[in-house]
Each structure stands twice: as C-alpha cells, then as structure tokens.
Amino acid sequence: MIRRLGEHKAGICLAALGLALMGYGIYRGEAAVCFQKAINICMECIGIG
C-alpha cells in the first residue's frame, strides 16, 4: 500500500496542488464569473457573437 502510494507521489501531490488552486480561484470569486458565463447563452461559442 505504502509502496503504491510512493509510485503515485507526483500525481497525488499535483492533484492536491490542483485542489489548492481551485480553492484559491473560488476565494478570488472566479467561480462566480464562470457561473455567470455558463448560465447565459455564450454567443461567441455558438457562432453568433
């Protein structure tokens, strides 16, 4: 078990870093920007805007 965890050390550390970055992004209010974009039809995405 410990050996397997060692094999995955880099992946686990990066996954933890990813979670920390997400947390920081949410703290800065980025999730709200994404949400606003996602709940309105994105005219650029569909080829109109």
């Binding site: 880099a10 992946g11 990066l14 949410i26 980025e30 920007v33 994404c34 309105n40 994105c42 109109i48």
Partner: protein
C-alpha cells in the same frame, strides 16, 4: 476474434454514452431551446462539453478558463487551471478516451466505412504539436491581451475554432429559436464549415480534433506520464511482438512508452497484448 474486439470497444462506448448523458441531462432544454441555469453550472466537467449546449449540466473547463482570463477583474484562471491540474494528475488523457462527449462523437464517426482510412501521413507528428499552440494562443494569450476598451477579452478558441459549440449549442439553439435567425452571419457560417470539415476528417482519420486541435487534450497530455491512473509494462513478460502498437489508433507504441502524451487510455493495447503485460 473480430467480434470480441467490437464488443470490447462498445463497452468503452457505453461508458462514454452514459457520461455524455449524465453531463447533458437537462433534456428539456432540447425541447424548449433554453439552457440549464441551475447551481450545478458552478462545477466544471472534465471533457470538452459546451456550456451553451441545451442539455449541459456543467461548465466546460476551457470555456471557464477563457471567461476568467478575459475578465477585466482577473488575468489568470486559478479555478479552471486547478481543476485541469486536479483531473489531469488523477487521470491524464483517460478523460479523452472515456469521458469526453466530442471524443465519443469522433469515435462513432470513424466507424463509418470509407474506401481509404488514413492511419498516418507525412507531417502527422508535427501537426500533433498544433494543439499546444492552440492552447497557448487561443485559450490563454489572446483572451489575456486582445481586449476591448473595458479590458475584456473574448473566448477566442470558442469563438473562432471550437466545433463543439456549433454542434452542441449553435445548431440546436438556432433551430429551436427563430429569434436567433436574424443574428446569423459570417461567424456562424465559418463555424459550420469548420464543423463539417471536422466531421469529414473524423471519418477518414481517427480523432483528428483530439490529435491536432484540442487544447484540453493538450493539457491532459502533459500529465499522462505522472498521473495516478497510468499504464505499466511488465518488461520481463514483453516479447516485443508489436501487437500493442499495431492496434493503437493514436499511433503510440505502448511497449516503448506506455504513458505517451498521445495515449488516450482506450485500453485496446491491453486487450491486444498476447502476454497480458500491460497493466
């Protein structure tokens, strides 16, 4: 043997279909011509799935990244980047092979019979680097620096390149909303041409969008060698028969590098190995 192989590939397709349905479960949107506006849209989905698709229940991470980078208030998207690092570190390009709706569409298109399928061609290897250029320029640099008077940048990848938005959002929304017909112009035509070109190429070449254009695949590919879920080769058992390389539609040689950035973890090499040495 042939029948067994087809059955095995459909096992993966069933997972892809299930995931595509799950992440596009707002089916009423396809009837009403509206998109989902609930709280689930706070969350990103791992695959390329336009948030303007009437059925989309989550947010496309590439769209989210451009939305934040292009916002005058922020200049880097920690939330979307963190999500990509998290998913990439756990799964790498497993997402491309199993959880991306547009990957599924390309898989199905490639099953359409055509007189001559292109396995590879001159310049194929070089063209695979294009997706990193697309990521750097269209997803990061252009939304960051090509801004309007208010300091807002457009989602240039979604606007100029992404055929997923046209297929999943543009076509159904325009068909269902007559009010949008008057707003159609050169951009809509351009995106439809790109979509048709992608569809045609997908019949000829296995997953051309994933191989050459997809910025999401570019991000996940970086994590392939170190992701928690990855392949290992039992070198003692491997006889170097080349069966794994022969079956790989992404033109990877798993015996040389089982975690090549182009590997989408479809698992065909594992099934083809006569010695079961890919784990």
């Amino acid at each position: 043997m042939g029948k067994k192989k087809i059955t095995n590939e459909w096992k993966r397709h069933r997972v892809q279909i299930l995931w595509a349905l799950l992440t596009n479960s707002y089916l009423i949107g396809f009837v009403q011509g509206k998109i989902y506006k609930g709280k689930l849209k706070n969350l990103c989905v791992p695959g390329l799935n336009c948030y303007s698709c009437p059925g989309a229940a989550g947010t496309c991470p590439i769209g989210a990244m451009q939305a934040v980078i292009g916002n005058w208030n922020f200049k880097f998207a920690f939330y979307a980047a963190g999500f990509l690092v998290f998913v990439g570190a756990l799964m790498g390009r497993f997402v491309c092979g199993w959880l991306c709706p547009f990957g599924l569409i390309q898989d199905l298109l490639y099953k359409i019979p055509f007189p001559r399928k292109l396995r590879t061609f001159k310049g194929d290897r070089l063209l695979r680097k294009l997706k990193y250029v697309v990521l750097l320029f269209f997803v990061i640099l252009l939304p960051m620096f090509l801004v309007d008077v208010l300091g807002q940048g457009a989602p240039y990848f979604c606007k100029l390149i992404c055929p997923v938005g046209t297929l999943e959002g543009g076509i159904p929304l325009v068909l269902l909303n007559k009010s949008m017909h008057g707003a159609l112009g050169w951009l809509y035509a351009w995106k439809n041409v790109l979509l048709l070109f992608t569809v045609f190429l997908s019949i000829l070449i296995y997953r051309p969008f994933c191989k050459y254009i997809c910025p999401l695949g570019a991000v996940y590919s970086v994590f392939n060698p170190i992701s928690v879920f990855r392949y290992r080769i039992d070198r003692e058992k491997c006889v170097g028969c080349g069966a794994c390389a022969k079956v790989c539609k992404m033109q990877v040689n798993p015996a040389e590098n089982p975690n090549h950035p182009e590997c989408i973890r479809c698992g065909q090499c594992k099934k083809a190995c006569p010695k079961q040495c890919i784990h």
